[in-house]
Structure formats: C-alpha cells, structure tokens
C-alpha cells in the first residue's frame, strides 16, 4: 500500500509563520535545527520545550532565546520525567479551574540522541508506560555532539567519532550497530512514532499534523545531518540528508498504534554515495579502500529493506 499525504502535497503549503527564530548560536547548516524549525511550524507556540542537555541547550542561552514558546532545561537523563511534571501540573491546574482549558500547552521533550538512545532511556520508558501525553523530538546527530562528538548508541557502524577513532586495532571506527530506538519505542506500544528528515519537509509537516490527533507519547526521530560532527561542508547538509534517505540508510516511516508504514520508497542507491560525502567515513575509502566495512553497511541496509518488503508482501 502506498502511503499518501493527506494535506502537505506542495511546498507552498509550508506555513510561513516561524516559531524558531534566527540568531541562534547553533552551527551554520545544522540539520537538526532545520528539522526543529519545520516541526515548530506545526507545533506552534503554545508549547513547553523540556530540553535535555545537548547542542540545543545553546538555543535558549540567557539572555537570548529563538523561541516564542516556553523552555525548561533538565539533566540528560530526566527530560521525560520533567515532561511528566509539567503535564501533571497543567492537568491539576485545569482540574482545579485555575487554568482555562483553552490555555493548555503541549509538552515537547527536545533531546539529542545521547539522551534519547542512552541516558534518558529508563526515564522515557517510564513515561511511555504511564501513557504520558507528550511529544518526544529527538534530533539525531548520531553522536554526543555538544561535548565534541563522542560515540553514542546512535552512532552507526563505520563512523569515526572522537572516542571511536580509526585506529590500527579497529580501522573501521565505530564497530557497534546503531541502536534501533524506533523499535524500542514501538515495543512500548505508543500511539505514534515517526522518522523525519529536513530534506523531506512535506513528509515532516504531514507527520506532525497527523500526530496531533493522538493522545499519549509521540516520538519523532529527526535526521540531524551535522556538518561539525560528521565533517562535511555546511553547504552539503541537504545532500547528506537526501542521500541518507535515498540509499535506504534513514527510512522515512511512521507507526500508528504499532502499525508501521514506510512513507517514502527510496531508490536504494549505493550507500557509498552517502558515505563519501562525509569526513567521518573517509577512512573507509582512503588511504586503503575498506571494502568489507562498506559491504557490511550495504548489507545491513539491504537486510532492512528485505525485511520491509517481506513484511509488506505478507501483510
């Protein structure tokens, strides 16, 4: 079954109103910021962002903020717990009649992959189990970025980070497989989970619009092409983000009440095209071509899409 957008079919439908304003201290060409900017166009400004320490903490660094929404800063491990506190407080105030219902706000956890895949996982699991009504927006730059690009469980096989360098004993760099946080969330059975990419803005806007209909935990994994950590010129952010999807490395999908749908059918171009754009994979190509490592990455991507095709054929 081919997924069809219901609303967003033309770029001119992207709302012109901004809720993430310019003048932030984030890197030029930050793919995560681009995803957030597009997401906020749908989320609006009646929002409390509950932020876990990371690059995006710099957004609201006193005395400046680019947001016309509220902001609560928490530790890396506890943003979902912070969200629970905010939600509960709002519910209590509304129940007591001290806050009119129409003045309610949406609670959005904003965290990097370090907190989402790693440090805040137990807090997240608790919040989903309690069916907390919140959004979780993870900008996934596949490393602990803010502290200088260290390995995180979201770092893919073969990527070089400062703590998974290309070295004699492990010439491929990171040897782990990227943790599948989408499936970890899905196992908790939340109403809505989606992956998005800033280079597919209509898909992104459509998903945020759809998610609004569901009460409970809603996860968005945003592909955060990161020029600083992935070592490419900021001008290539759109190309890196597009190729990640086209080569099948970053599938665009959603899961509504556990039912997974792929929202875009990629061309499955060779992963090399994607890897070659980024300095963090350069050691796979020079000084010696690490054929096996590249084949390994291609193999995991192929295996993923074979599973998808099989699942879709068998329904």
């Amino acid at each position: 079954m081919v997924w069809e957008p219901r609303i967003f079919k033309d770029l001119h439908q992207i709302p012109r109103v901004e809720h993430v304003f310019p003048g932030t201290p984030l890197c030029a060409g930050c793919g995560g910021l681009e995803s957030l900017r597009l997401a906020a166009k749908i989320l609006g400004n009646r929002v409390v962002y509950v932020n876990a320490a990371g690059c995006f903490t710099n957004l609201a660094s006193f005395p400046f903020t680019p947001l016309d929404a509220s902001w609560l800063y928490t530790t890396m491990g506890s943003a979902p717990a912070g969200a629970q506190g905010v939600r509960d407080a709002l519910d209590v105030l509304i129940a007591k009649g001290r806050l009119p219902k129409e003045e309610d706000v949406t609670v959005v956890v904003l965290g990097g992959d370090g907190s989402t895949y790693d440090m805040a996982l137990s807090s997240t699991s608790g919040a989903i189990t309690r069916h907390l009504d919140f959004y979780y927006f993870c900008y996934d730059n596949e490393a602990y970025g803010n502290t200088g690009v260290q390995l995180s469980p979201a770092t893919p096989y073969g990527a070089r980070t400062t703590t998974s360098p290309c070295a004699v004993l492990h010439p491929v760099g990171a040897m782990q497989e990227k943790k599948d946080i989408f499936e970890i969330w899905r196992a908790h059975n939340p109403p809505y989970i989606a992956t998005v990419s800033p280079r597919f803005p209509l898909d992104l806007e459509e998903k945020f619009t759809r998610a609004a209909a569901y009460q409970g935990p809603k996860l968005f994994l945003g592909f955060a092409a990161c020029p600083t950590g992935w070592l490419f010129d900021p001008a290539y952010t759109p190309d890196v983000a597009r190729l990640a999807v086209e080569c099948g490395f970053w599938p665009l999908k959603e899961a509504i009440n556990g039912m997974v749908t792929h929202t875009y059918v990629p061309k499955l171009s060779p992963v090399e095209n994607y890897l070659k754009l980024q300095g963090r994979f350069r050691h796979l190509f020079e000084p010696t071509l690490q054929k096996e490592a590249i084949a390994h990455i291609q193999g995991s991507v192929n295996a993923y899409w074979e599973r998808v095709n099989l699942a879709e054929r068998t329904g």
Partner: protein, 321 residues
C-alpha cells in the same frame, strides 16, 4: 593547556633572554583553525629551542562562533598562565570578528601591539574603516586557502605561518610544525604537503611589522564596584519577552553570501524550506528574499536551488555586513 617545556637550543631573533615573553593571541571562528594555528606556532617555537605554551578557549557556542587561542614563547620558563590580556601580537582569522564584542579582539591592544588581519584590504584601507590602535598588517589568507587548499576554512597552517614569520621563527620550523600538528589531526599526507606549500607562500608574502616582547603589561588593580540595587523586574524582562535572538546579527559568520537572481527564480520555495536559520522570507510576490543579518552563510539554499538562481559571492568588506 599543552603545558610548558623546553626544546633544543634557541635560535631566533625577536625573543630575548630573561623574563620577556612573546604572547600571541589568535582569534577565529570555530572551524577556521585558530586553535591549531596556536599549536603550530608553539610547536615551531619549541623545535627552535624556546619554551612554548599554547591553549585554546571557546564558549558553549558552536562552529562559526568566536574562538580564541593563546601562544606564549620565551627563552626561559613561562610563569604566566591562562588567557592573554596584553598580547604582543594579535592574529585575526576573520575580520568580521573585530566588531563583535563577544570576540574581544581589541582587548589589550595599544600602539605597540602588532595586529595581523586576514583580509583582502591593505593595512591602511582597514585603518580607514575600523579604528585599531596597533601596527596593522594584512594578507588575504582566505583567498590562498580557497586557491591552494580548495576550502575556505582551512586557515590553520596559514595563520601559524604568518604568526611564525612575525615573531621571527624560521620557515623550516613552521614547515615541520605544520606537518606534525596536521598529522596529529589525521590529515592526509598529500593535503599536509599542500598546506606546507601554502604556508610557505604566506610566510614569504606577509608584510612585517615589529613585534615586541612584553614583560607583562597587565592592567592595574581593578577598583571594587558595589552594584546599585536594581529591582528584579529589570534584569530578567527580556528572556520572558519571546524570540529575542533575532536582534542578534550572525552576518559575521559568513565567508560567502547567497545572492538571489530573481530573474532565474521559479518561486519553488525550496530555499525557504531548507534554510536552517529561517533567514529566508517570502515576499508578497511569492519570491524568496535572504535577510542577511540572519544568514550564517551555510549556503544550503544555493545547494537546493533547482534553477541556480541562488548564487554565491565572497564576503570581502568587513563593514558591509
């Protein structure tokens, strides 16, 4: 801090016996190589037998934001630590930093301070646009980086070479230090060689100004100021006042600027959708417009434009931002 240590027998001219220290302060934007430049200078001095010390400092902000780095060079032990307030030489990788108070470029500069600025303008031309008391010298390192290294931000070796020349280190020491520091960063041998060639060129090309050793010319004691009481409503009003980051200009981050050719624009809005900054707005006629004070120069809009209507122009003038 890379720490202080002593190398082989000293050789150079500018650096005198005794407690005199040459202190060099580098200013750049994150990603331009100011930190590596300070290391190259320190390593080159060390290999000539001097005592050397280098350390960078950067805030919580990211690539593109102001960074400084410090190198101290002396014949004897260096007792100073930390940031350099009164530099002998200031090396500026990006002229737009001079006007940015957060970068603190002008701090501690007086008539005796040597100041190098990476700029296509001459020292005199720069003097007419910005008032800097120091002895000014310039060279267009960005042009060399683009031409020789194919990368606008590959300035570390070039900055290190210029600083080395100005403080009186030998070309061979710079050569060696460039190789060592870039190899430590995992840079390819062929690219290191190109950096060395470009660095040699800059070493020869920079016009000399005298660099004086300084026996710490620190500021005098600071009088203690008791702040007047302010009601709490004053200090925190702004943070609750909504998206105030827009009052900050990020123009200075750019090396290149995107320029729209309206005749080629088909009004598809891809640039508007892909600008991470929200620096592109849509005019009433449906065409995009770049608001330059909000543009960091990432050039994502140029990359996505299907009709090549977004073109690229290099930023040259420090004052037109």
């Amino acid at each position: 801090m890379a720490g202080a240590a002593r190398g082989a027998e000293p050789s150079s001219t500018n650096i005198k016996e005794g407690p005199a220290v040459i202190s060099v302060r580098f200013h750049g934007r994150g990603g331009q190589g100011a930190k590596t430049a300070s290391r190259i200078l320190g390593t080159a001095a060390f290999s000539e037998g001097f005592t050397a010390q280098d350390s960078p400092i950067y805030g919580a902000e990211r690539r593109g934001a102001p960074v400084s780095a410090f190198t101290r060079i002396a014949k004897g032990p260096i007792r100073e630590r930390g940031i350099i307030i009164c530099p002998s030489l200031v090396v500026v990788a990006d002229a737009s930093l001079i006007g940015d108070p957060a970068a603190r470029v002008i701090e501690g500069i007086d008539e005796r301070t040597a100041v190098f600025v990476n700029s296509p303008l001459t020292g005199e031309q720069l003097h007419t646009r910005i008032s800097l008391p120091g002895r000014l010298t310039t060279l267009d390192l960005t042009e060399v980086a683009v031409r020789e290294l194919g990368k606008r931000s590959a300035l570390s070796a070039l900055l290190g070479a210029v600083a080395g020349r100005l403080v009186g280190l030998r070309s061979e020491s710079i050569d060696h230090a460039v190789a060592q520091e870039l190899a430590d960063l995992g840079v390819d041998a062929s690219i290191i060689q190109r950096n060395q060639t470009a660095a040699r060129h800059c070493y020869e090309a920079v016009s000399l100004v005298p660099v004086e050793t300084s026996v710490h010319r620190g500021p005098g004691p600071t009088p203690l100021r008791v702040p007047a009481y302010e009601p709490p409503t004053r200090g925190t009003a702004r943070i609750t006042a909504g998206p105030n980051s827009a009052i900050r200009s990020v123009s200075g981050w750019r090396t290149y600027r995107p320029v729209l050719r309206p005749d080629l624009c088909n009004g598809c809005w891809l640039c508007f959708a892909n600008c991470p900054e929200g620096a592109i707005t849509i005019k009433p006629d449906g065409k995009p417009a770049v608001y330059y004070p909000h543009c960091k120069g990432c050039l994502d809009c140029v990359e996505v434009c299907p009709t090549d209507a977004m073109t690229v122009e290099r930023e040259t003038d420090v004052t037109n931002k």
